[in-house]
């Protein structure tokens, strides 16, 4: 039997022959994705997007997923949210197969999708209108207000989304994703459309939220610095169809302020990730070449 191929002690490459990688769904892993394959049916035939996806996130962990655009990252979030079921393979939450949406998930996207006809407070309260809860209206509002205060939106509760800046809207959208105290927070490129300064503000806010709220996170991102700044594990996906190409563990003792970006250790991690992204994209180009060659 082979061992996992370890390049750097803190890094691990997924190997399908490795016994650890094939261990039964364990409970301390809050999210487990096992050899998931999926193809969308499109007008020009099936489009394979996931081909051997492996991912596990421990309870309270925060995993960033990076990969070439269009490789299937959003599809991954939809699987975890139970919005779709893969063709094969399984997604587990707490060792239980995910087959339908569940109220213990919160989502935020690049587009904050706030409802323009509601105030910020009413927007944040939206999940509590859907999820069964015993909270009184008063308690719900208190919860929403305290979250808004935490992200620096105190005083904006009664404003409309159109009166807020992009960064503020994204903060409100984070509050909405967290208001019902989800076990799993799924973020699909939430800071992608923001300018660099606003983005760094939101990274800090994410740390504050992580310290205060007991969620387990999955963050899809294009920004490698963001991934090592926020996550304790970075998963690199190959080009479409995506499989797990590389897993990087970010040491937990790494300082979580912006200065961390300039340490030698961070530079190493970033170089590794950049390398992996390059490999993923080259693989993608090769796949495109061979498939166009076959069709000729």
């Amino acid at each position: 039997m082979r061992d996992c191929i370890s390049l750097i002690p803190s890094c691990r490459k997924v190997d399908l022959l490795c016994p650890d990688c094939l261990a039964p769904a364990s409970v301390d892993k809050l999210i487990e994705i096992r050899d998931v394959r999926h193809a969308y049916s499109t007008a020009s035939g099936p489009l394979p997007v996931l081909a051997g996806l492996e991912l596990s996130v421990r309870e309270g962990g925060f995993t960033a997923v990076v990969g070439p655009s269009g490789c299937g990252k959003s599809t991954l979030t939809r699987l975890v949210a139970g919005l779709m079921i893969p063709d094969s393979g399984d997604v587990y939450l707490h060792g239980e197969r995910v087959t339908t949406p569940r109220a213990t998930v919160g989502m935020a996207f690049q587009n904050p999708v706030l409802l323009e006809w509601r105030t910020i407070l009413q927007n944040v309260l939206l999940p509590l209108e859907i999820v069964p809860t015993t909270l009184s209206q008063r308690a719900k509002e208190e919860r929403a207000r305290s979250l808004l205060a935490l992200v620096g939106l105190e005083g904006f509760e009664d404003k409309r989304p159109s009166e807020l800046s992009g960064g503020m809207r994204q903060r409100a959208s984070l509050c909405r994703a967290l208001v019902h105290q989800p076990e799993v927070l799924i973020l699909d490129e939430p800071f992608g459309a923001l300018d660099a300064f606003t983005r760094e503000d939101l990274w800090q806010i994410m740390h504050e939220l992580k310290a205060r709220e007991p969620f387990t996170g999955i963050l899809i991102t294009h920004d490698l610095r963001e991934s090592i700044f926020l996550a304790d594990q970075v998963v690199v996906l190959s080009g479409r169809p995506a499989r797990t190409q590389y897993v990087l563990d970010v040491p937990s003792e790494a300082p979580r302020d912006l200065d961390m970006m300039y340490t030698a250790e961070s530079a190493d991690m970033l170089a590794t990730l950049r390398d992996q992204i390059r490999i993923a994209r080259e693989g993608e180009a090769q796949v495109a070449q061979t498939s166009s060659g076959a069709s000729q």
């Binding site: 139970g82 569940r102 109220a103 989502m107 587009n111 409802l115 006809w117 859907i130 989304p161 909405r176």
Partner: protein, 253 residues
């Protein structure tokens, strides 16, 4: 409403009437060529009773036709907005139906339901005005970004809840935009029926009798009365829009 908001359109109206009067006066046009505003007043004075009854007939039939168009248009729009197949199936049919000039439909409808004048008029008003409503609602629903749906669906919300909490309110601005077009179209439909297939009811009939009696000021007076009713209905829709979809205007600022 501020003083200015009321004053500006009133002054514009006054300027328009003065220009019209001046145009007729300078060209020395006789009444049978073009009546001037000063000729209209006597016409209204002479026939004010007729204007009230006929105006009311035109108004209620237009409104009922429009309400019918709203109900059918919204239902069609929902069917087409939620189902791709239904959209592909119904869209060409509706476009073809909308392309048929309604003036050609009037005699057919009049023959189909002989004597049912109110019903016929309402039918034409409905047929001419439901199309923009159906299209706008279907576009509003089908272009709803998937993230909006996913936010609620990921929490286990039902399709109906998603429709009620997100799709419906989000489509309201498009709906009212279409309703403003439909309100004018419904008016055209009502008058088409009243004029092309005269049956002695509505402002269209009054117009027709002005024509047969060569009472040109009366014909122009009817046109102005129609314009007035059109404006009133249009602004009723605008008021409803401000109440139910006022947020959309604020969002654009």
């Amino acid at each position: 409403m501020s003083m200015r908001k009321l004053l500006v359109p009133l002054i514009a109206l006054l300027v328009f009437l003065l220009l019209w009067e001046a145009l007729v006066w300078f060209n020395d046009w006789p009444n049978y060529k073009m009546a001037s505003p000063s000729d209209l007043l006597p016409a209204y004075q002479r026939y004010w009773g007729l204007f009230l009854t006929m105006g009311w007939q035109t108004l209620w039939r237009t409104v009922v036709g429009l309400l019918l168009a709203v109900v059918v248009g919204v239902l069609l729009g929902m069917v087409m907005g939620f189902s791709r197949t239904m959209r592909d199936a119904l869209y060409p049919l509706l476009v073809g139906f909308n392309a048929v000039p309604k003036a050609t439909v009037v005699p057919i409808v009049a023959l189909l339901f002989v004597g049912a004048h109110d019903f016929n008029t309402i039918l034409i008003a409905f047929m001419i005005s439901f199309f923009p409503i159906a299209v706008s609602v279907s576009i509003g629903l089908s272009t709803l970004e998937p993230e909006y749906r996913d936010i609620l669906r990921s929490l286990g919300a039902s399709r109906f809840t998603i429709f009620r909490k997100i799709a419906l309110p989000k489509t309201l601005p498009e709906f009212f935009g279409a309703l403003k077009v439909a309100v004018t179209l419904a008016f055209i439909g009502t008058n088409l029926m009243e004029i092309v297939s005269p049956h002695g009811r509505g402002l269209g009939a009054l117009f027709d009798s002005g024509k047969t009696n060569s009472d040109y000021p009366l014909m122009f007076a009817v046109l102005i009365a129609l314009a007035f009713l059109g404006i009133v209905l249009y602004y009723v829709v605008v008021a409803l829009e401000n109440i139910f979809a006022g947020w959309a205007e604020r969002a654009q600022d």
